[in-house]
Amino acid sequence: MRDRGIGSGGVMGWFFQRLTGIVLVPVLLVHLLTMHRYHDHGLAWEQVTNLMINPYWKALEITFLVLALYHAFNGLYALFQDYVKSSGVRLVLFSLTVLGGLVLFIVGVVTVLSIQSPGLVGTAGKVLP
């Protein structure tokens, strides 16, 4: 039997899981419908960069990144809470989840922010002034 009644039980985790879930629905749909057009061998580099140069898109993508990472890793940790009996191992896994989330967040943000100019090569010119 595990310890009972020590520490907060995750009202925040529970609440934010639902909150991020709700917000993710429209954000994810927009992301999917814009970024995942795969009929033509995926979105070309130019197309993506053309979109991403827009600060609103940047903001949207970063929002999406944060929400998705939180939702995913919080969900993962909920699984650990259920299935990992040892509190020591749970602590390690918790640290790893947080760390993993942060790393991916940084990678993602760097990616989004690194796109500073539209793809000038190839087809992009047809579209944008």
Binding site: M1, R2, D3, R4, G5, I6, G7, S8, G9, G10, V11, G13, W14, F15, Q81, D82, Y83
Partner: protein, 234 residues
Amino acid sequence: MMERIFRIFRFNPETDKEPYYDTFTIEVQDTWTILDGLNAIKWHHDGTLSYRRSCRHGICGSCAMMINGKNDLACEKQISSVKGEITVEPLKGFPVTRDLMVDQTHFFEGLRLVKPWLINHTAPPTDKERLQTPEDRKLLDGTWECILCGACTSSCPAFWDNDSFLGPAALLKAYRYICDTRDEGLDERIGILDSKVGVWRCHTIFNCVEACPKDLNPTNAIVQLRRRLIQEKL
């Protein structure tokens, strides 16, 4: 009278290393319940079969067990409602003491943690009842009828995974008091309800609702408790 086959989970910690299933073919009458069948087996075939039973009409909660994969009260489940071979097993998730008997000490211990008693800081009126409108009293319906048979908690994956989780029965009991307009004990119970073993462990799987032989909805109680806690916490 007709013949029916009972396949019964057996385990005697004194003699058996592993549990096994024993099969009995007995004559049953059409008005018999599963409990009548078990009694017939115990009294006329094998006295060593152990199970709990008392009131025979679904109010004491002794004979909760798993009948053909579903938690039920043996005394209420008509044999005629079960097709084919009848498999009887103890409630899942609790340690088996013997045959169909499980150890519910831990289950009742969990109940104690939610402080299942009326908490009210003002002295009641002398020589009079506390007043409560019929509408307020109605809020308790669907909570106080719980017979603590353990069928719900025994069906709960969150409880299997973490037996410190209070489980649906204890949380239903907590809600029974928290939604009582005479009760002022939310503050005292918030610690345990909000803890690692409290309401947040529930994954709204609804097994408890499926399992309850009294058709109660413990998930609703948990959901309502969460709303109260969210209001308090945020």
